[in-house]
């Protein structure tokens, strides 16, 4: 490798930095003001690239391409404004993580809408008119468009900087980032401000997507793939800081460029291909930055952020009626395999639903009572699944020890390691770090082909002996799920659980009465991860094979949807939310061709009708009715 090669890659990195900046900066601005983590940001970016494609191919020529970029930006901005007005405006007072569910529903709807309009073929756009050539730099040819892209990022940064520092709109954005209620009390219409901010952020996503058209084909996987990138840029740069977002994009892009430039190297006799690091580079950068500077490069420690959300109700132990109901449900579940004679699918679906219940309960444990919003819970599920699967395939263990020892141990080790870092952060930063660890596990599994089978995964992991019988395996799943749920429930109501909830509600006061905040959170993280590992192990033997899909960020998000569907504030929420989500997904996939959109719409209805989750809303209505009955008319 020569210095020239390194420099050339560094220049390439500048162009990538612009793309990465455009992916993240809109999200950062939206988050800064609205405190909503807009999961649909990648979807807006995806729309940008598709709309630009349509303009470039239907209108054609220089106007079609360059005009298309303007049209994409404006159209996606309008779509963003519409999402804010129709949906988000109604849920600013809902619990923060509930808003995630709503934006995730938008992801699903946009995904199928895109599929419906543009089809599922990858669409490669034309090259930029007037910039089809290449320029010779350092003895290598660099596309003119890449050189153009190098300057786009800094140009957008300057315009945004001017907007925020020099205009009243910008001042209102910065003021609202800190204290939106006060901005309202000074006579500013927050609803309009929020709509404009959403339009701005969405427009930037649309611009980013449209500019990417000559560099990569429009495809349907962009939405979720980009969310990770966008989060990383925002978190590394510091929430709400546009300069930080550019700096973060620059660092990540340059490190990736460096990895590519280094290529395969031999260090101390060990050969290692650095270009493999590009998949995890950004997440490693994020993990390092968050550990050293918990609020990102340019972010500042947030003081008290005034939110509109209603404080969470304490969880209550189930009353006699709920317990009776649970007993009946359990009895039905126990005899369910008997129905398989008439409906063979019953046990298969039952196993999936039970595993989902255990997965969701373990996630709920750290999210609800723990107050730590994990975005990477699939990591522990995957560690359990791969642990059990590899113990059988590579280690020659039989089913039970693999399931009861190796799966929880693998997840335990992962949760102990990652949790140690995660509990040093809080809020959205913690959420992003869990996401980063999840992606790191995924990348390792994906790339370590000799051990994990790479993208093919591990196959032929069926339960042996007695457990080969579906019904018996179902009962095992039922027994383990019930034990796991009861165990975590016991912990929630035990002194440790009280301490955990105290830490969630007010870490300072909890510390002042002698609770070791980080230790309690760390133990909770490990408990949840370990139980989740058992769910992963059960999953491996239920499916007979494991693929990296088991650890994908999509599964982490599924888990969040399950928990929020059931409601955060009750212990029984995830037990219902997990199976309900599985059932919805299962039936929708079978019945409806556009199942994502259907699922998204179902979620949106639930969000708007049950703003506290299904179980939470039922509890809320019961309370409301009781209150009304008590009060004379």
């Amino acid at each position: 490798m020569t210095i020239d090669a390194l420099l050339f890659q560094a220049l390439n990195g500048l162009a990538s930095a612009s793309s990465l900046f455009l992916i993240g900066v809109g999200l950062s601005i939206i988050f800064g003001v609205s405190r909503i983590v807009n999961m649909a940001h990648g979807s807006l970016y995806m729309l940008g690239i598709y709309i630009a494609y349509s303009c470039a191919t239907h209108i054609g020529g220089a106007f079609g391409f360059w005009g298309g970029i303007v049209i994409s930006t404006l159209l996606v901005a309008a779509i963003g404004a519409m999402i804010e007005i129709v949906l988000l405006r109604r849920i600013y007072r809902a619990p923060e993580l509930f808003q995630l569910l709503a934006t995730f529903a938008v992801v699903l709807v946009v995904s199928d809408l895109t599929l419906w309009i543009w089809g599922n073929e990858d669409l490669l756009g034309p090259r930029a008119p007037g910039m089809t050539g290449a320029v010779e730099i350092l003895g290598r040819r660099m596309p003119t468009y890449d050189i153009f892209m190098m300057f786009v990022g800094p140009a957008v940064l300057l315009v945004l900087y001017w907007l925020l520092a020099r205009t009243r709109f910008g001042r209102l954005i910065r003021a609202a980032t800190q204290d939106r209620e006060m901005v309202g009390a000074l006579g500013v219409d927050q609803a309009r401000l929020f709509t404009l901010v959403f339009a701005l952020g969405a427009g930037l996503a649309g611009l980013g997507g449209a500019l990417q058209l000559p560099r990569e084909p429009a495809n349907l996987a962009i939405d979720l793939n980009l969310i990770g990138d966008a989060f990383v840029v925002v978190v590394v740069g510091g929430m709400g800081s546009i300069t930080g977002a550019y700096l973060a994009a620059l660092i990540i892009a340059e490190i990736k460029a460096l990895c590519i430039a280094l290529g395969a190297q031999t260090i101390f006799g060990v050969s290692f291909n650095f270009s493999r690091l590009t998949l995890v580079a950004e997440f490693l950068v994020m993990a390092v930055v968050l550990i050293v500077r918990p609020y990102g490069l340019m972010g500042r420690a947030q003081g008290l952020i005034r939110t509109l959300a209603i404080p969470e109700e304490p969880v209550r132990a189930a009353d006699a009626m709920t317990k009776g109901l649970a007993g009946i449900v359990l009895a039905v579940l126990v005899v369910m395999p008997l129905a398989s004679a008439y409906w063979p699918y019953a046990t298969v679906l039952g196993i999936d639903m039970l595993i989902a219940a255990l997965f969701a309960t373990s996630l709920h444990f750290i999210k609800g009572p723990g107050g730590m919003h994990s975005f990477g819970h699939a990591a522990y599920f995957g560690l359990g699944a791969y642990g059990a699967g590899l113990a059988v395939k590579a280690g020659g263990l039989s089913t039970m020890p693999a399931l009861l020892v190796v799966a929880p141990l693998a997840a335990f080790a992962g949760a102990a390691l990652f949790g140690w870092f995660c509990v040093r952060l809080s809020g959205v930063y913690l959420a992003m770090l869990t996401l980063a660890f999840g992606q790191i596990v995924w990348s390792i599994v994906y790339q370590w082909e000799t051990f994990t089978g790479g993208s093919n995964g591990v196959v032929g992991v069926w339960p042996q002996g007695l457990l080969a019988d579906r019904s018996i395996y179902y009962w095992l799943v039922l027994a383990l799920t019930v034990s796991g749920v009861m165990f975590l429930r016991t912990v929630i109501f035990a002194p440790f659980g009280l301490g955990l909830r105290a830490v969630r509600d007010n870490p300072l006061r909890a510390a002042a009465i002698g609770l070791d905040v980080r230790r309690i959170q760390w133990i909770a993280f490990i408990l949840a991860g370990t139980v989740c590992g058992v769910a992963g192990g059960l999953y491996a033997f239920a499916k007979g094979s494991i693929s990296p899909e088991t650890i994908h960020v999509g599964r982490s998000i599924d888990g969040i949807v399950m928990v929020l569907l059931g409601g955060l504030q009750t212990v029984s929420g995830p037990v219902i939310g997990g199976p309900l989500f599985t059932l919805l997904q299962d039936t929708l996939i079978r019945q409806v061709s556009y199942w994502r959109a259907a699922l998204g719409i179902v979620i949106l209805i639930i969000v708007l009708v049950f703003p506290q989750g299904v179980v939470g809303s039922i509890a809320h209505w019961r309370q409301w009715l009781a209150e009304r009955a008590r009060r004379p008319a």
Partner: protein, 242 residues
């Protein structure tokens, strides 16, 4: 009493399930400076917030310049000319003095009888608060408590209010700033503004207020002329002194 600018009838307010204000009624005339007194936790700040619409769960009638504002959003209340200065200042710490003032800016307005209300500009406010004029580009986060207190008042005045809800301006600031606050309130009164001042310190209230209401546990327990409250040591001991 002159024409009423703000009248509050049977205002109740809750934080979640906790009932804080019980049938609070009060009245402020044009150009009047009225004290809302009481100990910590009596409900002074809650009353101001409830008038402003900042408390979700509330009931009762609030009429401002002849308009019912009891169900309006805070920003609509502010746009009618009701200014709010919060107790904890709530300066935008990332914004400079000038930028903080800009956020508060609203068009000039007239009283319900058509006469123009006082119009505030940066120049006039810097004349009123010379300290602020000396640091127009300083970020709010790098100012002393007293300077922040002046800025929060000035920021609200940028909205050209007809009436200002002023929440404990003397709390936690140096005596010299308290004196300056007294002068400010007197100057605002001379401009014809009405002020509802939440206050614990009777000496501060005495210096600027015409009338007073005294709150205890969310109920109005006493109301009358400021002079009468000063003379009534029994009420003072029962409701105010610690």
């Amino acid at each position: 009493m002159s024409t009423s600018v703000l009248s509050v009838d049977n205002l109740n307010a809750w934080y979640g399930a906790a009932h804080i204000l019980f049938d609070v009624s009060l009245n402020i005339g044009r150009g009047e400076v009225v004290a809302l007194m009481g100990r910590n936790g009596a409900g002074k700040s809650t009353t101001l917030k409830a008038i402003m619409g900042l408390i979700e769960r509330r009931s009762g009638a609030v009429t401002f310049e002849g308009r019912d504002i009891s169900r309006l959003d805070p920003f609509r209340v502010a746009r009618l000319g009701l200014g709010y200065v919060p107790e904890d200042r709530r300066i935008f710490t990332e914004l400079t003095v000038n930028e903080n003032l800009d956020v508060g800016r609203q068009p000039s307005r007239t009283w319900s009888d058509g006469n123009p209300a006082p119009v505030w500009t940066e120049e006039r406010l810097f004349a009123l608060f010379p300290n602020l004029g000396a640091m127009p580009d300083r970020p709010g986060g790098q100012m002393s408590g007293g300077e922040q207190q002046m800025l929060t008042v000035a920021r609200t005045l940028m909205g050209n209010p007809l009436l200002v809800l002023l929440d404990e301006p003397s709390e936690g600031v140096a005596p010299v700033i308290v004196e300056q606050m007294v002068n400010t309130i007197v100057a605002l009164k001379q401009e014809g503004l009405s002020i509802l001042l939440s206050e614990q310190n009777i000496h501060f209230a005495e210096a600027v207020c015409d009338r007073a209401y005294v709150l205890e546990k969310g109920h109005i327990r006493w109301q009358g002329e400021m002079q009468a409250l000063l003379a009534d040591t029994e009420t003072q001991r029962a409701l105010l002194t610690i």
